[in-house]
């Protein structure tokens, strides 16, 4: 057992993508944040806590 300080991933950098249907980051961004958020509702922060976004007091920071 040795602590390793490798800066390389375990797999080859030319490995094929695991899921061919994987949408690219550019395609995802093209959907826009609102569309993405509606599809990610279950996982977004706050969803598990039921927190409601509220308006922050203007006269302090």
């Amino acid at each position: 057992m040795t602590p390793v300080t490798s800066t390389r991933p375990a797999g080859k950098l030319t490995d094929p993508q695991e899921t061919p249907e994987r949408p690219s980051l550019a395609d995802l961004a093209a959907l826009g944040a609102e569309e993405l958020a509606s599809r990610l509702q279950r996982a977004l922060p706050g969803a598990e806590s039921g927190l409601v976004p509220v308006a922050a007091f203007n006269s302090s920071i």
Binding site: M1, D15, A37, I61
Partner: protein, 801 residues
């Protein structure tokens, strides 16, 4: 009569002192319509603070608030003196129920801020915001002493104090009230020079009765033009600090919440406590008319539930429906939200009301459209309630087969099943990252463009970086509107991908606090500023802001490779790792690293031998252990974070077997969190609370579910220890049998509570069946009567009987 509370109150402005040592001529407290300050006590009494703390504590407990924010305000709150401020902080914190965090702040003009005050704020964890209107000329326009002297030097001294390393973490930011006759470039440059973590630019308070000044030479929308000039500078500088107003426009244009009450449709949850103990509505209403914020309530006679039902507060919680007809039909209403409530007031409408657009309507429209036009075009967001568009595919796609879900329900998960969770988590992180970048208004466009290019050209390099647990943690914080994290980590993720790809790509990364962090790789000591990272085929080059070059990591991320193929990173460099609800440990020293590697080796051997059904999944999915600081009096501390798949936080315990138990326990939370990202196991609208057998306090259903799932592994841990001792005598054997007796019963009871809750979905009921299948055989294992009696005693002690 209204009997329900539309929204609990969670922000409290406590007026510590009603007078000020400055005489700013734009102050809404003293210079505008309301004159109530004249009759109020100068300083708040301890008894009023104590009663307010009690009210806040009751309210937080009744509404299960995870956090409340209290702003110590004025007048000038430092005039209350350090002793009174300390007593207030202690009293407020002590009154909150367990599980409710206190975000305590003070907002000051900075004139009196001293090293002693800073020490007090460090001691009491009070973050400090300062009012400063820009460069000296700008600040002197309004912010003067009563005798006309400038306050600028004193404020700069205060900011310099907060920028000292000892106090920098207390520095919340600067509030700048704009004046269109001030040079926006000079104001921006002067503020940026002070390296604030955040700034907000406030429109001067005005109403239709008292409209803002509009010098003829400055055009029709001088406030919009002023703000857009600052916005352009801020973008050109790579957004060196958070600006609440700008971020709010970017977010609301894309359907996210605003971060300030002056924009957006989010409801108000704010109450103000004056020095005489009366409750008021939002402070800014003082600008509308004399007595506008009055509620007729006070802290001794009225609860915060009473206050939340006040019509004036309820009126600010009705979103779009609460706006004027003109606003409701406007294309930018989701962003401006009608503007700050006080700015809508006019008295000549037959009685005086706020049922009007903002007096800044034209400026807000121009400003919002200007910000929207500065990035990529965005559509007008829907104004209906949030709902997934019909027919939209969920992201990530459901990646688990029924058989895999069954495995996980029984508490386990093969390497293949956990790898499927990992793939779905990577897809989720990628989508969240794209959403966070777009919601930012597509800031750091060059970094994103390179990341997107590498995503196609070197996908494994990008995925290796985005599979890092804290990549999702960053995106989650951004999407939640956490202004404490900027876009720097996005550039750092890109830089790490470029280094891994080794193609010669370069990207600028902002450096703060003297360290450049490259996720999954480590960190490099670099002067603050913009550093350019270039990925080379044989390593990397970092060119710092001062022109110096570095090619090695000063503090590489250390990975521990263990027999049987488990490699785990000991994450002690990532600034985003601090998401485990406990303080994280600093960089491990060599001796500590050896202790960790030894403990991990022993724990891993134990897991492989005694918990093989858990170890296989853990090897496939637990990539990161983040060392935490030890708990008080040796208490074991460990945690998983829903937004950081693949990581657990642990304070290294005294023994390797305990580490094995903590690893198994926490990785259960990691797995279940990933399942919940894919599948609804319970009705998310269920608001009931449930008692877990092992806790005195009731919790939401997810808490009971998470606890039960984790204790499946705990039960098996003690069960296999009991079998290993095989009737042998001794303290360790007796303890294993007692713990086993305790946890198998607790876990079995908890499964039945879940199953009978009425809140589980069909999939959730099958999940409970799986958990029952695993725990039931353990109930049949015979134990000595002494172990059962000891478990009974432990149950009574935990229940406080």
């Amino acid at each position: 009569m209204t009997t329900s509370i539309p929204l609990p109150l969670a922000q409290f402005v406590v007026k510590m002192h009603s007078r000020c040592d400055l005489a700013c001529d734009h102050c809404y407290v003293y210079e505008h319509a309301d004159s109530s300050w004249r009759s109020r006590p100068k300083v708040i009494a301890d008894g009023i603070v104590a009663k307010a703390a009690e009210r806040i504590g009751e309210h937080a407990a009744a509404h299960r608030l995870p956090a409340v924010r209290v702003v110590l305000h004025g007048g000038e709150p430092l005039l209350a003196g350090p002793d009174r401020l300390r007593r207030a902080a202690v009293t407020l914190r002590a009154a909150l129920p367990p599980g409710c965090a206190l975000d305590l702040r003070i907002h000051t003009n900075g004139v009196l801020l001293s090293r002693d005050f800073c020490a007090l704020f460090a001691e009491q964890d009070i973050r400090v915001g300062i009012s400063l209107d820009g460069d000296r000329a700008a600040n002197d326009r309004h912010r003067r002493f009563a005798d006309g002297r400038s306050s600028h030097p004193q404020v700069l001294r205060a900011v310099a104090l907060l920028n000292e390393p000892e106090y920098r973490h207390l520095f919340a930011g600067l509030l700048c009230t704009m004046d269109v006759e001030n040079d926006p470039v000079a104001v921006y440059r002067a503020l940026a020079e002070l390296r604030p973590p955040a700034v907000d630019f406030l429109l001067p308070h005005a109403t239709w009765d008292e409209p803002p000044k509009r010098p003829a030479a400055l055009g029709a929308t001088p406030y919009a033009d002023w703000l857009l000039t600052v916005h352009r500078l801020w973008e050109a500088d790579g957004r060196p600090f958070a600006v609440r107003t700008f971020e709010s426009v970017h977010r609301t244009l894309r359907g996210f919440s605003s971060l300030t009450e002056s924009l957006g449709l989010e409801p108000s949850d704010l109450a103000v406590l004056e020095t005489d103990g009366t409750f008021e509505q939002a402070d800014s209403l003082k600008t509308a008319y004399d007595g506008a914020p009055v509620t007729g309530m006070n802290v001794f006679a009225h609860s915060l539930d009473d206050l939340a039902r006040h019509p004036g507060i309820a009126a600010r919680q009705s979103g779009l429906a609460g706006l004027s007809e003109a606003c409701r039909s406007c294309s930018v209403v989701r962003s401006c939200g009608g503007g700050l409530y006080a700015h809508r007031y006019r008295s000549d409408d037959g009685g005086g009301s706020f049922d009007h657009p903002s007096v800044y309507c034209g400026d807000l429209m121009t400003f919002i459209n200007g910000v929207a036009g500065s990035g990529s075009p965005v559509g007008v967001p829907a104004q209906a309630a949030e709902a997934p568009p019909s027919g939209a595919e969920p992201l990530p796609p459901g990646a688990l087969t029924p058989s895999q879900l069954g495995e996980l329900a029984r508490g386990y998960g093969s390497a293949e099943t956990v790898a499927a969770l990992g793939r779905s988590q990577l897809a989720l992180t990628r989508a969240m990252l794209a959403a966070a970048w777009d919601a930012s208004g597509q800031g750091r466009a060059a970094a994103w463009a390179l990341l997107a290019e590498l995503d196609t050209a070197a996908p494994a390099a990008v995925d290796a970086v985005l599979a890092h647990p804290y990549a999702r943690a960053w995106a989650a914080r951004r999407l939640a509107g956490d202004l404490a994290v900027g876009l720097g980590p996005l550039a750092a993720l890109t830089a790490a991908a470029a280094v891994r790809a080794g193609r010669g790509d370069a990207v600028a990364v902002p450096v703060r606090g003297g360290w450049l962090h490259l996720p999954t790789l480590g960190r490099i000591a670099v002067p603050d500023g913009e550093a350019v990272v270039t990925g080379r085929s044989d390593g990397f080059e970092v060119r710092a802001a001062d022109g110096s070059v570095r090619t090695v990591l000063d503090e590489p991320l250390r990975r521990v490779r263990l027999a049987g193929g488990w490699t785990v990173a000991l994450e002690d460099t990532d600034p985003l790792r601090d998401c485990h609800d406990h303080p994280v440990a600093d960089r491990l020293r060599d001796g500590e690293l050896l202790d960790w590697t030894g403990a991990l080796r022993e724990a891993w051997e134990l897991l492989g031998r005694d918990l093989p059904g858990y170890a296989e999944g853990l090897r496939a999915g637990l990539t990161t252990v983040t060392p935490l600081r030890p708990g008080p009096t040796g208490r074991d501390v460990s945690s998983a974070a829903r937004q950081a798949y693949g990581a657990v936080g642990i304070a290294r315990p005294a023994t390797a077997p305990t580490l094995a138990l903590l690893l198994a326990h926490e990785f259960q939370h990691v797995k279940l969190g990933a399942v919940l990202d894919l599948t609804d196991l319970y009705d998310r609208a269920d608001s009931a609370l449930y008692f877990a057998p092992w806790r005195p306090d009731p919790r939401p259903l997810e808490g009971l579910l998470q606890g039960t799932y984790a204790h499946l592994a705990v039960t098996e841990y003690w069960g296999t220890r009991t079998l290993a001792y095989d009737g042998l005598p001794g303290t360790a054997a007796d303890r294993a049998r007692e713990q086993f007796a305790l946890w198998r019963r607790y876990t079995a009871e908890a499964v039945e509570r879940l199953a009978s809750s009425g809140a589980l979905t069909g999939t959730g009921l099958r999940f409970a069946d799986g958990m029952r299948d695993t725990v039931t055989p353990w109930l049949a294992l015979p134990l000595p009567a002494a172990a059962e009696r000891a478990a009974d005693r432990a149950r009574r002690e935990r229940a406080g009987v």
